[in-house]
Symmetry: C2
Subunit: 207 residues, 2 copies
């Protein structure tokens, strides 16, 4: 039987999206919860030499890194329901949005929570612009969720709705106020809030 291990972190949206995809396919896997802030395991560092980050999926001893690459691999390797749309053009659109979340939104929305003063004001404007792009594109459309099945864009976009919602509250920001994404099966909000609160305190104490 194929052996599947996921080196992840319960508090990471990138790790979470892999769990959603594996569960949708019905793939059994072992979850190794890495202590990403204190001490990463030697195996994780061996498997992800370049980025040294979770998630890493190990399938029959072969490691695959980077969450969007892992999502493609899962879909191509196991039978079962797909989080990717069937049509090539819709799949291209889903890949574009996933890239938009990861390369634009996550970066700006993460940084705005950990910055101060003028830099934070600049980042707030940037985040507002990004949210406007999302809103104008989605307005009046059912795009993010086709029919009754969870889709790629829902899975990758969860950072914006759920993680950023918790983070901005802790950071005392009001960049966006309404959740626009489905968020079933997510890590418990209070546990996630406590986790990031501790990290905010640690960063504040070290300044």
């Amino acid at each position: 039987m194929a052996e599947v291990k996921l080196y992840g972190s319960w508090s990471s949206p990138f790790s979470y999206r892999i769990e959603v995809a594996l569960k949708l396919k019905g793939v059994e896997y072992e979850f190794i919860d890495e202590d990403v802030h204190n001490k990463k395991s030697p195996l994780l560092l061996k498997y992800n030499l370049v980025h040294k980050k979770v998630p890493v999926l190990v399938h029959n001893d072969k490691p695959i890194c980077e969450s969007l690459v892992i999502l493609e691999y899962i879909d191509e390797t196991w039978e079962g329901p797909s989080i990717w749309p069937g049509d090539p053009y819709e799949r291209a659109t889903a890949r574009l949005w996933a890239k938009f979340f990861d390369e634009k939104c996550v970066h700006a929305m993460w940084k705005v929570c950990w910055s101060k003063g003028e830099e934070q004001e600049k980042l707030k404007k940037e985040c507002t612009e990004l949210l406007k792009i999302l809103e104008s594109t989605l307005s009046g459309k059912k795009f993010f969720r086709t029919g009754e099945t969870i889709g790629m864009v829902d899975v990758t976009g969860n950072f914006v709705a759920y993680w950023f919602g918790i983070l901005q509250e802790l950071a005392g920001l009001q960049v966006f106020t309404k959740e626009k994404f489905p968020n079933e099966n997510l890590p418990p909000e209070d546990k996630l809030a406590a986790h990031f609160q501790a990290r905010f305190r640690a960063v504040a104490a070290s300044k």
Copy 2:
């Protein structure tokens, strides 16, 4: 008959990789050479609202943006030779390298050519580390080119070998000195050098 248009730029490695993929598949297309430094066409801006960048592939009036997403779309849409490996694990590895080039190498190698003093020294070190990763991974392996056919990693990695080779020479850098990638059918070196020389001069004059 399907209508295929590529909004690109002859001097862009991102646009060039799309042409390679279309030619390999034998897809006929119209190339619209955008003046990316002076005036982008209204159609390009309409098609790529978010990034406003080339390349954009328009297939039957539907636009697809971002070169790596376009490469996936071409492979899924047209029959014929593929630049992607057939095996899912090898395909995942190719996707990882493509991401590594685009998110790590291109950014650092582009910036090192346009920076000065201390910042440039820091970026030189970063580029050297990136090249070491490439070298140690490829050492003694035929990975980048499986058999006799051009592969995804050759196509996306060409920036490192060809574009960066020209750029670093113009910028008076010696970050790497040996070409490690195949470079057939690339834009003429002298034309590309003259193009970037003009841009270096323009930037220097505006400082």
